[in-house]
């Protein structure tokens, strides 16, 4: 099935089913993408959207159902077939080879050869420039991908797909990594693509984007199609379809009673190994009994801020004091022992050891303290009974405390990490992206725990790229952009203002 430029292509998925073991990721899903339209695939984390697209793109084999291109059944054995049929995909995690140039990345897999049978780099360069100019991408074909910004890398991915004459372009959560301004640019591009005849499948969980650019919306929940909708539907209608019940993001929390300043960050600056300034003269303070939420698009220094306070990232200048004591330059261990609790943003990589038992994970940063060990000798019983307590207290769903942490679901894993950090007497709790990838029930639980900790008088610093979470939990919001604190505002601030701050507009410019 050869794709042809300019010819509109209709794509249909009928009854697609995909299982992983006993888990049904896609359950008899029907989806029709009419030519020249933007079709949004809306659903929460874990609903099955990406799986469906991976099936469409030939990365997975469907267990049931069929794919039809222009009313003919097709069988994609691999991405090559899908691409030849005119389907292109821009993945959520970019598929770019870092040491290669833009041109090399774009040509990979369908390289043109010169007369001497070697690579025709010039032809590749021309192709990149042609597409880049058509949409105003402003991409240099000889730039090394490693050196490009995230937004630029995404544009390279789009060029990659378009260079294969894609008639249907699948974008998987494309705005997750973009500032609001870059998001608007991307949505413009989506519109342009649609107008030039390319269909676009937009996978997202962001209601506003869907309403801004989609022609049709299919909502998926728990692997099934819940329904289709038009962009004129209201946000709460769409949200209800997405999560299945009325969703209030607002957390029921009593008024905060802030006490003394616990954490004081002054002029914190950090430079990473590539010479990029990740933290630029950051100053803030957090009081006991309040939640300060750091808002901002991922990649603006929030992660570095949290890790610098912990001591995992080296600051080049500035100071961080906890109850007046200087923390910079101290080891992570001494930070933890001074009363800092740290919930890292990537729990599987930084928060727990997947092959260790739940018991051991619950004492990962406590092993050398009583009662878990004395004189270097581990007390196994103490660890066991601690695990029983915590599992009950935090409602961790598991068959045994000796199961590996890797066997738990995301929500339960996060509970283990939280349980561990909250088992100590804390002065400051730092939680980075505390509910990323969690189901709704676990999100509520984690939020409750965080508020409970605040009410105990602990100073809480959370970092979140989910604006809804920020607005629901925070007593104060600090917005970060390009390593700076752009402003500290109350949670009653409207979204548009926050969005503009996240994009770097000064507070005075906010209308």
């Amino acid at each position: 099935m050869r794709s042809q430029k300019g010819l509109d292509v209709k794509l249909e998925l009928r009854g697609i089913t995909k299982k992983f073991g006993d888990f049904v990721a896609n359950d008899r899903i029907d989806l029709t993408v009419e030519p020249g339209t933007v079709h949004a695939l809306l659903g929460e984390n874990g609903a099955g959207k990406s799986t469906l697209m991976n099936v469409l793109f030939g990365l997975y084999d469907a267990d049931g159902g069929e794919i039809l291109v222009d009313d003919e059944v097709v069988n994609f054995v691999g991405p090559g077939d899908a691409m030849r049929a005119g389907i292109g995909m821009v993945h959520q995690h970019f598929m770019l080879v870092h040491p290669f140039t833009v041109a090399e990345n774009v040509m990979l897999g369908h390289e043109q050869l010169a007369s001497n049978r070697l690579l025709d780099i010039d032809a590749a360069r021309r192709r990149v420039l042609e597409i880049s100019d058509r949409f105003g991408f402003n991409v240099d074909p000889d730039a090394v991908v490693e050196d490009l910004s995230v937004g630029a890398q995404q544009r390279v991915e789009i060029i990659k797909a378009l260079s294969r004459d894609a008639n249907v372009l699948i974008l998987d959560e494309p705005t997750a990594v973009l500032t609001p301004q870059e998001t608007d640019e991307l949505l413009d591009i989506v519109g342009q693509l649609r107008d030039s005849g390319t269909s676009v499948v937009l996978i997202t969980h962001k209601l506003r984007e869907v309403q801004a650019v989609a022609d049709t919306i299919t909502v998926i929940r728990l692997g099934k199609v819940v329904g289709t909708a038009l962009p004129t539907a209201s946000q709460s209608e769409l949200a209800t379809m997405m999560v299945g019940r009325d969703v209030t993001m607002a957390v029921d929390k009593p008024e905060a009673k802030p006490g003394d300043v616990v954490l004081e960050v002054t002029g914190l600056t950090a430079i990473d190994e590539n010479g990029v300034t990740t933290l630029d003269d950051v100053s803030l303070e957090v009081r006991a009994g309040e939640i300060l939420a750091i808002a901002g698009v991922q990649g603006n220094g929030q992660t570095e801020l949290a890790e610098a306070i912990l001591g995992a990232v080296r600051a080049t200048s500035g100071s961080v004091t906890l109850d007046g004591e200087e923390m910079l330059g101290r080891s992570i261990k001494s930070a933890l022992n001074s009363g800092i609790g740290f919930v890292p943003e990537d729990r599987t990589v930084d928060g727990m050891v997947a092959t260790f038992t739940i018991e051991n994970n619950l004492v990962l940063d406590l092993i050398d303290q009583a009662p878990f060990s004395s004189h270097g000798n581990i007390d196994v019983e103490a660890i066991e009974s601690n695990a029983q307590d915590k599992i009950a207290q935090f409602d961790v769903r598991t068959t045994s405390s000796k199961a590996t942490a890797g066997s738990l679901s995301g929500g339960n894993q996060q509970k283990v990490v939280l349980a561990r950090e909250l088992s100590r007497e804390l002065k400051l709790l730092i939680a980075s992206q505390p509910t990323r990838g969690l189901d709704v029930g676990s999100i509520e639980f984690v939020h409750q725990q965080i508020v409970a900790e605040r009410d105990k008088g602990v100073a809480v610093l959370i970092v979140s790229s989910e604006l809804d979470e920020v607005m629901a939990l925070a007593d104060r919001i600090a917005v970060m952009y390009h390593g700076k604190i752009v402003g500290v505002v109350p949670p009653s601030t409207d979204r548009k203002t926050l969005g503009l701050m996240m994009a770097g507009a000064h507070q005075e410019e906010v209308a």
């Binding site: 793109f57 990365l59 691999g78 991405p79 090559g80 691409m83 995909m89 993945h91 970019f94 598929m95 770019l96 080879v97 870092h98 040491p99 290669f100 090399e104 990345n105 040509m107 990979l108 897999g109 369908h110 390289e111 050869l113 049978r117 070697l118 690579l119 990659k160 990473d272 190994e273 991922q298 990649g299 992660t303 570095e304 890790e307 001591g311 995992a312 990232v313 080296r314 330059g329 101290r330 080891s331 992570i332 943003e345 990537d346 990589v349 930084d350």
Partner: protein, 438 residues
């Protein structure tokens, strides 16, 4: 934002330590230059000279031997070493990266200083330059083949520690086939088969069964040692006609590998005999290096191989068959290493003996690392190690104050320096040793 890399996570780094680690390569070069200055420069007796003999008796063009005053030369060479260190520092300050040529040139200069110092004041002995260079190239042969094999495999993401076993297997099969057919060239042609077999096992366990590639490589090396030694002690000692040295094959009227000097080119002074008066295996080696260098960086095949080694998922999503590429590269790499094994037996006119590769496979690995996973760089590094080996032999001839065991340690020490980053940053393909699972 992905997880902060372990190198940025320091927890408690003082600025002194980080400066030290940033500048460790310049410091390394500087320290060794200092040693060179003290040992070679200052401890050479003044007033004595070293004689260098350029041409061998039967070279077409005779360049006369010459003497140089030892100490000025060693001092100058030591200063050049410092200059290299300075260049590395300067480039670092400018943020530019330095090519492989620097550590190679540094090594050559160091050896020249060593040679001049060792030969100083020895009245009746000349340092035979050309002969040394010729044997340097010759001794580098298994290293070049091995490092090409290693690069081929690792560029696609498969760590090949089994080079040693592939060389040994090739040596074994070459000897046996040459003896059986009375034709050393046939033995040379058979050698890659043994290497490819080992490569197939490596591919099977590493790519198909996801066993750690380092472990497989180490185990395969011992397996090959075991099989070849076993067969040597049993079948080959029962049937000595299956394991003959070149002389014996020749005596029976068979075909032996001989030097094939290229007319005209081999008459050029110094370079001629070194490069163009070698045997067929060496010429094949040249061809392989050139072809590989072009193919890896300028051909479609090379682009895809490198993609597979850096980001297999990306390659997969554009339709490249990751595991198939890896398997093919591993087998091909094994074959190339096997061919290099022919060096030990048929190309050296020797019969097979137990464990005769004596660790050259690991030095080949070292050359690949030092050469930064480039065919050109690996070739230079392998030649450097080959010359070091020739140097050791030459020093044995003219007599030297340094015990030969320490000279034998040099390539291993150099490798340790290389992986410790003391000779500049060396980054392997990103997806190395990570099995690709769909």
């Amino acid at each position: 934002m992905t997880t902060v890399s372990a190198s940025v996570r320091t927890g408690q780094a003082t600025s002194f330590r980080s400066v030290l680690s940033e500048w460790k390569d310049v410091i390394g070069y500087g320290l060794v230059a200092l040693i060179g200055l003290i040992v070679f420069g200052l401890r050479t007796d003044s007033g004595v000279s070293t004689s260098f003999q350029i041409s061998r008796p039967d070279d077409t063009v005779q360049v006369p031997s010459f003497s140089v005053p030892a100490q000025p030369i060693t001092l100058t060479l030591a200063v050049i070493l410092f200059a290299f260190a300075g260049y590395q520092a300067w480039a670092k300050l400018r943020g530019a990266s330095v090519g492989v040529w620097l550590p190679i040139a540094y090594g050559v200069t160091f050896m020249a200083a060593l040679l001049t110092w060792a030969g100083a004041g020895r009245e009746n002995t000349n340092v035979a330059i050309t002969g040394m260079l010729v044997s340097g190239v010759f001794l580098a042969v298994p290293l070049v083949f091995g490092s090409m094999a290693g690069t081929l495999c690792e560029r696609s993401g498969v760590v090949n520690i089994a080079i040693e076993g592939q060389l040994l297997g090739g040596a074994f099969l070459a000897a046996v086939v040459a003896s059986a057919t009375h034709n050393a060239y046939l033995g040379m042609l058979a050698a890659p088969i043994a290497g490819a077999l080992v490569g197939m096992l490596l591919a099977l366990f590493a790519v198909r069964y996801w066993v750690d590639q380092i472990v497989v490589g180490v185990v395969l090396n011992v397996l090959v040692i075991g099989i070849t030694s076993f067969l040597f002690s049993t079948v080959l000692s029962d049937n000595t006609s299956l394991n003959q040295a070149g002389a014996q094959i020749g005596a029976q009227g068979g075909v032996v590998i001989q030097n094939l000097p290229i007319p005209l080119l081999s008459d050029i002074p110094i370079l001629g005999p070194v490069l163009f008066d070698q045997n067929a295996l060496v010429y094949v080696m040249y061809a392989i290096v050139i072809v590989f260098q072009i193919m890896l960086f300028k051909s479609r095949w090379g682009l895809r191989v490198r993609a597979v080694g850096e980001h297999p998922k990306a390659a997969d999503t554009v339709g490249i068959k990751v595991n198939r590429t890896r398997v093919r590269n591993t087998i091909l790499g094994g074959a190339i290493a096997g061919l290099g094994g022919a060096f030990f037996t048929v190309a050296s006119q020797l019969a097979f003996s137990k464990e005769m590769t004596s660790g050259k496979g690991y030095i080949a690995l070292a050359a690949m690392i030092l050469g930064r996973w480039n065919p050109k760089g690996a070739l230079l590094a392998a030649l450097l190690f080959g010359f070091a080996d020739a140097l050791r032999i030459q020093l044995g001839v003219i007599g030297s104050p340094i015990p030969s065991e320490f000279l034998a340690m040099l390539p291993y020490l150099a490798t340790i320096f290389a992986v410790a980053g003391l000779v500049g940053r060396s980054r392997p393909p990103a997806a190395e040793n990570i099995p690709y699972k769909k």
